[in-house]
Subunit: 384 residues, 2 copies
């Protein structure tokens, strides 16, 4: 990356960690064997692959046999939703992958509050006797709001127990897409209380298009992709050995540095937020003030045009986003901001700043100064 | 790879070409941006991605807009078969990915002949008024037999025209899995006459778990994975930029060197075949004698145990296979060898030798000597 660039869009993509690349490299040309081949060098590759799955599993407190490797979070989500023959519940601020999967089923879309918070009560009210799946992201990718998954898990567990009490065997599962925030949040499955969890390597300094779905042993999954029977028949296709090993290393690094990194990012984010809100007193910070990803700052400047701001800041080397990359590219207003009831004027004046590994006190401070300088010029320009 | 190893299993996996790795590396840490992000460095990544798709398309004579990037051949095949609401036809020697996709539909499994050849007549006889899809691999992964795709394409085209003549709009498509043999065979879609083509980067010295499905503009596809709407809505998920660029480079290299490489491999293979059949006069070479992949040698030694041979040869540093890696790993007899009517005794005495980039006259000659030496010992051992 160009040294003069200040990257403030870690929620959209992350550069691979050098230690991840180093871990993967042997599998490109040396240990390139098909892990299903019978000879010893391939058996070693199989063992390395299984060890990587073991490491992934232990990083979230799961068993390796409950992990299904996929080609990214979107595939994991599709697998979690596949052939659920019944009602599903999702929130209106979920990623399009979740929303579009839900729409393939009988579904209820519940509302988040104005901070992007999905309460357990709202989920509880939406549960029907035929509800099979509740899917709530661990943290929202635009606002950074962290959801009360433990409370939602309790609601789902109570429903499951109530069904069992009356002899109803209809299963109900809680799935969470934890693509965002793994570098900053605890993703221990027992503590989260989920039945299925999606992780995304490409958002945590690992290789792109690598993901996994963890599913508890009681979850009945149907394969989305059939064939040679890899991943216990749940995801066929020759295993992505290098990708899995890189993903495992990335998750290991995220877990090891989580506490330090989330404190570091929160400090940087809070300084930046203070600088911006002091400079622009009518700026609006969105997302939950407390339950929010450490590196996340969603901020609106009423009257300004967020899309224009992106290009103005880019000219100064500062890369920010208006929201999720998928939606930003389509030139449509964010469904998340609409869902939380933001007025079009405030929504259109929003930018999303997400800090991460590339953020330092120096470049974040400098970015703050540049943003203030350019936004003042913009306010002056439109005031004329 | 260990220098002392002689790798004769290129059909199972291929090492990444150094030029492929070099092409991918900038996208790991420098140009890591989400191609859907709006700022210029991400727009450059988007452009590089689209250029790679352009290169992939032009290598097979297609338009870039007809290419859907996937996470491997198995996913491509599943996409080709997805929500085909009607009858499908496949051959009994197809890969499990194709067979298992077919089994999700009303299907006819036609028989290949004893050389693993699927004739156009057999396909023609199986076509019903409601047949929507015919899927025949370009080359069989165990026997190396190359199928008469052009003749099969003509049969499918005739059926399509006959339907149109009688005002029947039921579509019929020909899909081919060309995972095997891209380094050796022409994969121009117009010359093949197919409507859909699956390619597999991991079998042509490109990155693993990268594939594509080419579908002609008249083919109506249904997405297997929904979400952010990437790949024209047909395959959601953040694009695998590095993987696509590596895949494009691998296909470009395969195309450039195809003529030279296939002649080189055929010469090596023929020498090896002659050496083995001279040394063991009751050895049986399978697959089509003429229409066969250049680097492919499937050979049976009646009375010997193929699985045992693999380990004996491995001890001497020679890596061969008994068949496809997926089946080999399960300890089951190959469905392909059963399908062509091979007796269990001959099937069990089979090995598959597949030459490729790592094959030289020296190491192939040496491998031949080692195989002859070890097999003679085996025949002596069992004769006692």
């Amino acid at each position: 990356m160009n040294k003069e660039i200040i990257y403030l869009d870690h929620a959209a993509a992350t550069p691979m960690d050098l230690r991840v690349i180093t871990a993967m490299e042997p599998y490109f040309r040396d240990d390139f064997y098909n892990p299903s081949s019978p000879y010893a060098p391939a058996v070693k590759v199989r063992r390395d692959y299984e060890e990587a799955k073991h490491l992934l599993a232990s990083s979230i407190g799961a068993k390796p046999g409950e992990i299904i490797m996929t080609a990214g979070a979107t595939e994991s989500i599709n697998l979690a939703f596949n052939e659920i023959g019944g009602h599903v519940i999702v929130a209106n601020i979920e990623h399009h992958a979740v929303l579009n999967c839900a729409k393939l089923h009988d579904h209820t879309i519940v509302e988040s509050d104005s901070r992007g918070f999905v309460s357990a009560d709202v989920i509880k009210a939406a549960i029907r006797p035929d509800t099979k799946l509740v899917s709530v992201a661990l943290a929202n990718n635009e606002l950074g709001t962290v959801q009360p998954l433990r409370d939602i898990a309790q609601v789902v567990r109570q429903e499951r127990e109530a069904r069992l009490m009356r002899g109803d065997k209809t299963p109900i599962y809680l799935h969470s897409d934890a693509s965002q925030g793994v570098s900053q949040l605890d993703v221990n499955i027992a503590r989260l209380g989920v039945d299925m969890l999606t992780l995304n390597s490409g958002k945590m300094y690992g290789p792109k298009q690598m993901g996994l779905l963890w599913a508890a042993s009681h979850v009945r999954l149907n394969p989305l992709i059939v064939g040679g029977g890899q991943e216990r028949g749940l995801r066929s296709g020759t295993e992505n050995v290098a990708g899995t090993i890189g993903f495992a290393r990335a998750l290991e690094l995220a877990t090891t540095h989580r506490k330090f990194e989330s404190e570091r990012l929160a400090k940087l984010r809070d300084s930046l937020q203070t600088a911006l809100t002091n400079a622009f007193t009518d700026a609006i910070v969105s997302g939950h003030p407390k339950h929010r990803l450490a590196g996340h700052l969603h901020i609106s400047f009423p009257g300004l045009d967020g899309e224009r701001l992106i290009f103005i800041l880019e000219n100064r080397g500062v890369l920010v986003s208006t929201g999720s990359a998928c939606a930003a590219n389509k030139g449509t207003r964010s469904h998340v901001l609409m869902a939380i009831g933001m007025t079009p004027e405030i929504a259109d004046g929003s930018i999303r700043i997400t800090l991460g590994h590339l953020s330092t006190p120096e470049n974040t401070g400098l970015a703050g100064n540049i943003i203030i300088e350019e936004l003042k010029k913009e306010y002056y320009r439109i005031s004329k």
